[in-house]
Point group: C2
Chain length 72, copies 2
DNA sequence: ATGTGACTTCGAGTCCGTG
DNA sequence: GCACGGACTCGAAGTCACA
């Protein structure tokens, strides 16, 4: 399993758990709306600074974002 | 604590635990010698693909690399 | 509200070397 | 063996128009 895929799945899952649209999520994190879309579709290869901003904005641990997503 | 700092400390710690030089470590992971130096000195902002290559090369979990380093 | 292609700028990542 | 530097390429960051 690729880290990039874990990230995509975890973002989408957590974002929906919290009832956020991609736009609201992007605003929280401080990234562009379209960039958020691209992360969820595994089209980009983000740096750890971006990962960090997501973690801080959503109060997450690294495992929550990059670990294997719960299989559902 | 910044993710970039965790990474730097964890790489250096694990690399030394395994008795690898920076050069040997870089060769294992498949990155450049000088880039390995820069990661350990927190001078660069790697992508998650690089993180992944380090994890796979050294058989690590995300928490081992990006989590808070053991305080010793 | 989500997704895509295209664009510019700047830094990720490599390669040469030095002390 | 490690830190640091300059010069280079290409891809990530960040944005937009449009569907």
């Amino acid at each position: 399993m690729l880290l990039r895929n874990n990230l995509a799945a975890n973002i989408r899952r957590i974002r929906r758990e919290r009832g956020l649209s991609q736009e609201a999520f992007a605003a929280e994190v401080g990234i562009h709306r379209t960039y958020a879309t691209m992360l969820e579709s595994r089209k980009r290869n983000p740096t750890i600074d971006v990962i960090e901003r997501i973690m801080k904005a959503l109060n997450l641990e690294v495992g929550d974002l990059l670990g294997p997503p719960p299989n559902r």
